[in-house]
């Protein structure tokens, strides 16, 4: 195992990674921007380095600043968390070139999966089902119409992520507008103007498979997560097992995810995202995330496996801690965002009260505490409230208590939305899809 790990991230995920790094007796090094100096993860690390001002481009996205911090602290490995530089192949290469270990998949796997067009074509070749769509970048709105994918159609940025630049068009006029919006955002957020189109499946569920590529080259699947509760194509609640996936479909999806990982020589933790048609019990590949996912705790809760620990072990060339994957019970994660619970608009501000729920079956991964300032520079995730139950109804009961016990004052939060959701017949029944939040707000 390495002597030290630099965590190239902030907030809740930096804190969560630091927790496991330190538990393994490894020195944890944090990096932070001027805006984040008072956050708990900075204090909890063994060492912390200021890498620049609040703007992400000048701190967390600044490869030279991060690598200078690694050099100064003599870090032996880099864990990128999610977001920022986590799926940046050039950064992964730089880490290796500087003589450090990259806690993530091979650079080639990041590059192959980073472009949604190449990923889709590669998966089709590996025998993983994909949605009808374009196989080349779509140059302009006329070509988008001429592609004849049919309606509704999803317009996506090939280099995109986090739901940004994605929209659904139901006719030609909407498609033209969606294309221009996607192009603008693709250039601005991802520096890659390529656009692809995919047939949009209505009333679908978003289900993803957690995989782990081991040091010996084998790839294992650790079960699914249902991420169908979304606003603006971004996940809000995730649970496992999925109530929309039967045993037969599950085994097909797990096998396909393993094939997807093997096709790119995957190592470490990754996630194969799919769309599921629950009525037909069919699925198609959406994309692969070559990093730890925000919602990884639900998998940890049902398998008892610490995914960050496995990431470190795989990167160090050591065997993982488990031999069998036997998920038990039900786990749900609620992403507590600094946003108003009605329109989901951002709400930065000073946190005056912060009281987390606790208990045997409650896990809170938080990035903040009372006295911290939530700034507009980063994503609105404050904390992940996770609950476990022997079955889904027990998990829901615990969730209701935990949501009620979670007190945050200062920024507005979406906790009141979770109270509403936990009372929503569709969600409670388990028979819901990615349109649920829009229907609740229609």
């Amino acid at each position: 195992m390495f002597e030290s790990v630099l965590v190239a991230n902030r907030g809740e995920i930096a804190r969560r990674v630091i927790r496991t790094v330190r538990a393994l007796g490894v020195k944890a090094i944090a990096v932070y921007s001027e805006a984040d100096a008072d956050l708990p993860y900075v204090a909890e690390a063994d060492e912390a380095v200021l890498i620049g001002p609040a703007q992400p481009a000048k701190s967390y996205l600044d490869v030279d600043a991060v690598m200078e911090a690694a050099r100064r602290t003599n870090a032996r490995a880099v864990h990128p968390g999610y977001g920022f530089l986590a799926e940046n192949a050039a950064f992964a290469r730089r880490v290796a070139d500087d003589g450090l270990t990259w806690i993530g998949p091979p650079v080639e796997a990041i590059a192959a999966m980073g472009d949604k067009i190449s990923a889709r074509n590669l998966m089709e070749k590996a025998g993983v089902p994909v949605a009808a769509g374009t196989r080349e970048p779509v140059p302009d709105a006329d070509a988008a119409v001429a592609a004849g994918i049919g309606y509704p159609v999803m317009v996506k940025a090939a280099g995109g992520g986090g739901g940004i630049g994605m929209s659904v068009a139901y006719d030609e006029a909407e498609l033209r507008k969606a294309f221009e919006t996607a192009r603008t955002r693709a250039e601005r957020f991802f520096g890659n103007p390529d656009i692809l189109l995919e047939r949009f499946i209505e009333r679908a569920r978003h289900v993803e498979i957690q995989i782990l590529g081991l040091a010996d080259g084998t790839v294992v699947a650790l079960g699914e997560r249902d991420c169908s509760v979304q606003r603006r194509h971004q996940k809000v609640v995730e649970e496992t097992p999925s109530t929309g996936v039967g045993p037969e479909l599950r085994s097909r999806m797990l096998a396909a995810a393993v094939r997807a990982g093997e096709a790119v020589g995957y190592r470490g933790a990754g996630t194969v995202e799919c769309l599921v048609d629950p009525a037909a019990q069919e699925f198609v590949f959406l994309e692969m995330n070559t990093r730890l996912q925000v919602e990884h705790p639900v998998t940890e809760l049902v398998t008892g496996i610490d995914l960050v620990e496995q990431q470190l072990l795989v990167a160090a060339g050591e065997p993982v801690t488990f031999t069998e994957v036997e998920p038990r019970g039900h786990a749900i994660e609620f992403r507590v965002y600094a946003e108003d619970p009605k329109r989901f608009l951002p709400s930065p501000g000073d946190i005056t009260v912060w009281e987390e729920p606790s208990g045997d079956v409650v896990r809170v991964d938080s990035g903040y505490q009372a006295g911290n300032k939530v700034t507009p520079f980063y994503d609105p995730l404050l904390a992940k409230l996770c609950v476990y139950g022997a079955d889904r109804s027990q998990a829901l009961a615990t969730a209701r208590e935990a949501v009620a016990a979670f007190r945050v004052e200062g920024p507005k939060t979406n906790l009141p939305f979770f109270t509403e959701l936990l009372d929503n017949p569709e969600f409670v029944s388990g028979d819901y899809d990615t349109g649920l939040v829009d229907r609740m707000r229609a």
Partner: protein, 70 residues
């Protein structure tokens, strides 16, 4: 005269109109960015942009004046 004020702390990403422009109710004046989300600021009256108080790249606070429509 209508004052348009910021609903939240944000960065000014794009200024869409200029002083002196005629705008309709519902037109986008500026686009703010906060927490990785774009938030258009919309004119709630028709009229002329009498003054524009923000520039691209500014960080504005909740309640700050963005524009005056006459």
């Amino acid at each position: 005269m209508a004052e348009v004020r910021a609903e939240m702390v944000a960065n000014v990403w794009k200024v869409v109109v200029n002083e002196g422009d005629t705008v309709e109710d519902g037109d986008t004046l500026v686009i703010l960015e906060s927490m990785k989300m774009e938030i258009p600021v919309i004119a709630e009256d028709s009229g002329t942009v009498a003054s524009l108080k923000v520039a691209e790249g500014d960080v504005i606070q909740e309640g700050d004046l963005i524009a005056v429509i006459e």
